[in-house]
Amino acid sequence: MLYVVQRIAQALISLLGVATLIFFILRLTGDPVLLMVPQDSTAEEIAVMREALGLDQPLGLQYVEYLGQIFTGDLGRSYIQNAPVSDLIMDRLPYTIDLAMAAFILTVLIGIPIGMLAALYKGTWVERVCMPIILIGQSMPAFWTGILLIMLVSVQLKWLPSSGVDGLESLILPAITLASLSIATVARMTRSSILEQLGQDYVRTARSKGASTMRILFRHLLRNSSIPIITVLGLEFANLLGGSVITETIFAWPGLGQLTIQSISARDFPVIQAVVLLGASFYIIVNLLTDLIYGWVDPRIKLRRDAS
């Protein structure tokens, strides 16, 4: 229990740190008002704007107010579109979640089996097929995978649309693109953690008792090598949400990534700040959850950490 409380406290500190970091990065250039007002504004207009946004107050006070706003869920208003940032995000979030979920399912369904096969059939042709897939996946940038898929599947074969949101059909290519790197990472991690376990005594014991490969795999290996796999899955899921910026750009997918890009070119700082904050919070929460899942999969960890 102590462990759980400690981990939650740690996560809260990280969140606070992220919020602070974002606040100071946004003030790095000095006066954000100068970035917002039209080029030909007079000094007076600038002053009015500054006051309206509360930017005339001391930095410390601004910071406290900013934190207060965040923790009450008020993310401010967009400079460009006359709407609260939270509304803008809520419009886009479902699309990004769809994409990330689809990519995550692909990652689990493809990444883990490839890693298992490469480990179990080490030294045979199966490994020689699996390893290049992993290595290629790790070295392909998402935008190149996406463009290749569009060239082959959309332009040449005309099977699937190359952009837009039009039902499940248009989700397939973006999901594969977004998943490609995660598949490689997860497969690699699965392979190495199963290889590590394969050398253990209990595997030999099970084998000498006559257990089949399948039984050893599912009853013994998977459970014992699940910790690193869960970690990497958690991190990859959080990365999928962040990584969707590139994929959404390629496929004109109207999610958070597109919103980010649009707000950057419009210098709409409240929106950028909110998206980064959201992404980071999500990352931290997923990290926290994976750590808590550890304790459930492998009770030894919890005991060890509680003791220390």
């Binding site: 990280s14 290595l135 935008f143 190149w144 463009i147 060239m151 332009v155 190359s162 392979r191 190495s192």
Partner: protein, 302 residues
């Protein structure tokens, strides 16, 4: 302790000799890695002397001959072996000059983040206490922000340009090195040779730079090798969304962003820079894995 090492060394020596006797050269590790070393060498030569390879000006636009396919010959008899882009620029020359931009950004970013992270991690491990906690907590926080988002935010604020790109990548990536340097320092400060030097009256500065730093170089080098590949990918990604290298400077990422718009009509615009990125990142990953396996046999292929 020393005896254990000797037997270990002996047995590893034995396996080396026996494997040398049995495995044919094409199955040895250096042979597998050789093509990737050659590819990397080629890219390094290209980026040192792009003029040797590219005969066209990479930023010269000629709208009269835009979107010409590979092998196009202009009225002056000049060949464009990889075709031209939407502004009539030579793709081949842009890919060649893009290698230079890409490698310069990646290597500088790795140097900035490696030196920054190495020193901070070393200090955190050596002094521990408040300094150590602050540095390592900051590292944890930075690591808990999705990297691309943090880079996007920072570049959006600072404005996209080459120097800013290096600074951003450097600032965002230092925690990776700091963690490695931190744990290596913790493992080193209590070793006998450091204690002995301290007992003889060596000052902190001497301990840090004469005794601890050399121990940190190999693990940091492993991280750095793999990071070069990642930095190339990130530079390309940021350039792809318009936050990296700015036009008209050639960058593989921004070339591919153009290529995306002409994917149905002019496949060559995106394909050649794409192959270039893939080849160089693959080579660096393979070499990085090999370096890690050699320096740290316990941590094979993660």
């Amino acid at each position: 302790m020393s005896q254990g090492t000797t037997t270990e060394e002996l047995s590893s020596l034995a396996t080396v000799t026996s494997s040398k006797l049995r495995t044919p050269p094409w199955k040895r590790r250096w042979f597998v890695i050789l093509p990737f070393l050659l590819i990397l060498l080629l890219f390094v030569i290209i980026s040192i002397a792009p003029g040797l390879f590219a005969k066209h000006d990479p930023i010269y636009t000629e709208l009269g001959q835009r979107l010409q396919p590979p092998g196009f010959v202009d009225p002056n008899g000049l060949t464009y072996i990889w075709g031209t882009d939407d502004l009539g620029r030579d793709i081949f020359s842009r890919v060649i000059h893009g290698a230079r931009v890409s490698l310069i950004v990646a290597v500088s970013a790795v140097l900035v983040s490696g030196i920054l992270g190495g020193i901070l991690g070393m200090l955190a491990g050596f002094y521990r206490g408040v300094i150590g906690t602050v540095i390592m907590r900051l590292a944890d926080i930075l690591l808990s922000i999705p990297f691309l988002l943090l880079a996007i935010l920072t570049v959006a604020v600072l404005g996209p340009d080459l120097i800013n790109l290096v600074i951003v990548l450097g600032i965002v990536r230092w925690p990776r090195y700091a963690r490695v340097a931190y744990s290596a320092t913790l493992a080193t400060v209590n070793r006998d040779f450091v204690k002995a030097s301290e007992a003889l009256g060596a000052r902190s500065g001497r301990l840090l730079f004469r005794h601890i730093l050399p121990e940190l170089i190999p693990p940091l080098l492993v991280v750095a090798t793999l990071e070069v590949g990642l930095m190339i990918l990130f530079e390309a990604s940021l350039s792809f969304i318009g936050l990296g290298v700015q036009p008209p400077d050639p960058s593989w990422g921004s070339m591919m962003a153009t290529g995306r718009n002409y994917v149905a009509s002019a496949w060559w615009i995106a394909t050649f820079p794409g192959i270039a990125i893939f080849l160089i990142v693959l080579s660096i990953n393979m070499i990085g894995d090999d370096v890690r396996d050699r320096l740290d046999p316990k941590n094979k292929r993660r």
